[in-house]
């Protein structure tokens, strides 16, 4: 049994909150650069140029890439042979609290969806636990902005809708979103499971490096096909027209019930932030 102190988790979460908000993952940066180079529509190209300059400024000055520094989504893969000394959940919230205050990150969380009073420290975090074999502990912090979160959708398709239904739903969500989620976007898709598992898979899909395709060749092909189809819509960066609507499509799938075909599409903007550490 390996022992990990709650204070070490707080320190790690704090650092990840601050770094994830200023340093864009390298795969996303590469994709923005490539799209900037390949974009043929003038206004679209100018916008991509500013988006590129923006993440460079954020990195250099260690300031947030976007003012919406999000709700802190914290993913844990906890080895089953790990014992945490202290209160794990409180340790995570404390890390978010310290990171958002010290890092001058925006506090965007309200304590209740209807009375809407700001908690002033960006807590609570949204926490996702995965128990895995071994004695490791992997922490991922993904600050999720709500301009794109608001454009996400879940749908319980019929099995008869099949692959065509899946494709049509992904296209519908992107089309409905249009310019609102700050394109170019990253599209996370979850297929299968239950109502809630599909949404969870879609969010997990956004954590995957965009240069890594789904391990199943069928789904890898579907990711490529959907990316091409989305970019043929012509929505363009910020919706002004152009070939760059999405940077990537990541799909995750799992088993489901004989009667169902759940699907969720979670949209992220070009500021697709996540940072991990192994303790």
């Amino acid at each position: 049994m390996r022992e990990i102190n709650a204070q070490d988790i707080t320190a790690a979460v704090k650092r990840l909150c601050m770094e994830a908000n200023s340093y864009l993952p390298s795969d996303i940066k590469e994709r923005i650069c490539n799209c900037h180079q390949n974009e043929s529509w003038d206004l679209a190209k100018n916008i991509l140029g500013i988006i590129k300059e923006n993440y460079e400024i954020a990195e250099e000055k260690y300031v947030p890439i976007c003012q919406d520094t999000g709700v802190a989504c914290v993913f844990l893969e906890i080895g089953q042979d790990v014992h945490i000394n202290g209160n794990l959940e409180e340790a995570i919230h404390q890390g978010v609290r310290e990171g958002y205050i010290e890092g001058c990150l925006r506090k965007s969380v309200v304590r209740d969806p209807l009375d809407r009073v700001n908690t002033t420290d960006n807590t609570p975090a949204m926490i996702y636990y995965d128990i895995v074999p071994g004695d490791g502990l992997k922490l991922t912090v993904a600050p999720k902005g709500f301009g794109s979160e608001n454009m996400s959708q879940v749908k319980m398709l019929k099995p008869a809708d099949g692959l065509e239904g899946v494709k049509a739903f992904i296209m519908k969500v992107v089309e409905d979103a249009g310019p609102n989620p700050c394109p170019p976007i990253v599209v996370g898709v979850g297929i299968g499971g239950t109502f809630d598992k599909a949404a969870y898979l879609a969010k997990k899909a956004l954590m995957r490096n965009t240069n890594v395709r789904n391990a199943d060749p069928f789904y890898a092909d579907l990711e490529n096909e959907m990316l091409e189809k989305i970019n043929a819509l012509g929505i363009g960066p910020q919706g002004v027209g152009g070939k760059t609507t999405a940077l990537a499509v990541n799909i995750e799938k799992m088993a489901t019930h004989i009667a169902g075909l759940p699907i969720a599409v979670n949209i992220n903007c070009h500021v697709t932030r996540h940072k991990s550490i192994e303790l």
């Binding site: 300059e53 300031v63 976007c66 003012q67 506090k107 965007s108 989620p181 700050c182 027209g241």
Partner: protein
Amino acid sequence: MEKRVTTPLTLEQVKDLKSGDSVLISGVIYTARDAAHKRLCELAAEGKELPFDVKDSVIYFVGPAPAKGDQVIGSAGPTTSYRMDPYSPTMIALGQRGMIGKGKRSPEVVAAMKEHGAVYFGAIGGAGAYLSRCIKKAEIVAYEDLGAEALRRLEVEDLPAFVIIDSEGKNLYETGRQEYLDSLK
């Protein structure tokens, strides 16, 4: 080539701005999001005076990050505008001439823009670090309790944006995409 726009934004200036124009905005603008808009519209409904001069004003839909180190203001890119749709027609009727945000607007907002002469600018969503550099001065005017959502007075210099919807109702989100797709034929 960008058009230079200085505030206060007069009706004559607005008429000269066309959907698709790239602009650089300079002068005094105000920030407000949903919560501040709600309060402003409540004041207006009670016939009370607003905490800033709304005539010929430009409102930037933004909730900035806190300033860090020697920054004037933290990252400050636009928020999604449709959340202000219930309030913008009232504000436009009171004399507001410009809005800076991102994303689609309702038919009611566009109708008010055409009736009174107003323009909707798009700033680049997600470019908060870049855009904060165009803000030279920032102070809270009202609603400090709203934190990031407080009403602020900003002095901006060459803030890059583009005209999404002009005072005739022409919409870049519709025409830009179509023109791009037509260019491929």
